[in-house]
């Protein structure tokens, strides 16, 4: 905990300092930063509970299609669509990881570039998802058509809302980095939105498997 005792230390970017347990990263270099990152992990636990409830609901009701479209019918006619969504989001998680890596090298320019690419890939994902939902609704697969579709739109839509939130949030952090530069505060803010972004990718991997792949099996 020695690290957390040091209140306000490096305010400028640069290679990591050396602490008791190896290099101290910029986002963890103040007690405030370390506490807020820990707090964000607690938020992620509560978000896991939200998604666990929605997954449990979906898995229980997805066969209840009320003579409407089934999962196999709906997802089966355009498998390339949900594969493209998955690849866009996986790539955005990678570029977000590269942004974090560049931040740890103290290179603010490249950090901002990878953040910009991550935001664009997030927008690509959202565009694909909105197109998919429009396509489904055009086929009569509306949210109120069956228990299956209520569960589907609630689960996948909640994830999409999270991604929308993530795009807005990351854009604001990008603005702050451009305005205030890379310091212990902006590093912590970016690190937290990065954790959020990787978490959304994990949730999507489960949606890809449990909703889409199981649906077309």
């Amino acid at each position: 905990m020695a690290v957390m005792m040091e209140e306000v230390l490096p305010k400028q970017a640069g290679p990591s300092r050396t602490g008791d347990n190896g290099p101290v990263r910029l986002e963890l270099s103040t007690a405030d930063g370390a506490t807020k990152i820990f707090g964000f992990w607690m938020f992620l636990v509560s978000d896991v509970l939200l998604f666990a409830s929605l997954f449990a609901t979906y898995v229980v009701i997805y066969t209840h299609t009320a003579d409407g479209p089934t999962a196999a019918h709906l997802f089966g006619h355009d498998t390339a669509g949900f594969l493209a969504e998955t690849l866009a989001l996986l790539t955005s998680s990678f570029t977000c990881g590269l942004a974090t890596w560049e931040m740890h090298q103290g290179r603010a320019g490249r950090l901002k570039m990878w953040m910009g690419i991550t935001i664009l890939l997030g927008l690509v994902f959202l565009g694909l998802e909105i197109t998919e939902f429009r396509d489904f609704v055009g086929q009569g697969a509306t949210m109120q058509a069956s228990a299956f579709l209520s569960g589907f739109y609630t689960l996948v839509g909640t994830h999409g809302a999270h991604v929308t939130m993530g795009v807005l949030w990351m854009s604001l952090i990008l603005y702050q980095l451009a305005r205030f530069g890379l310091n212990a505060v902006t590093a912590r803010k970016f690190f937290i939105v990065g954790l959020y972004w990787h978490f959304l990718d994990i949730v999507w991997v489960l949606i890809f498997t449990v909703v889409y792949l199981t649906g077309v099996m």
């Binding site: 190896g22 636990v45 990881g97 199981t214 077309v216």
Partner: protein
Amino acid sequence: MTPRVHANPAFPWSHVIGFALSIVFTLIAFFAVTGHALAHRPLLAVILVLAALQILVQLIFFMHVGQDQKPRYHLWLFGVAMFFFVVFVVSSIWIMTFNTPMS
């Protein structure tokens, strides 16, 4: 205790490896399902295992879980989250399919 593998590596290898693995796992799962490579139950098992591997890749290669300075409270939080997830999903499936023919 746990030295970080590379303090300042010249190239983000772990991210590139993690990305390659996540793409490979996704494509294997996708083509196994669309090509009907296996019977229903083994196929379901395979894609669930691939999803678990994907999640581990995200956690280890991108979120660097377990590579932070001690104390690693967030590992405990992660464990709690996984416990709740499994309890919610598995117990829901179990109770809702109790005494009914499994699909």
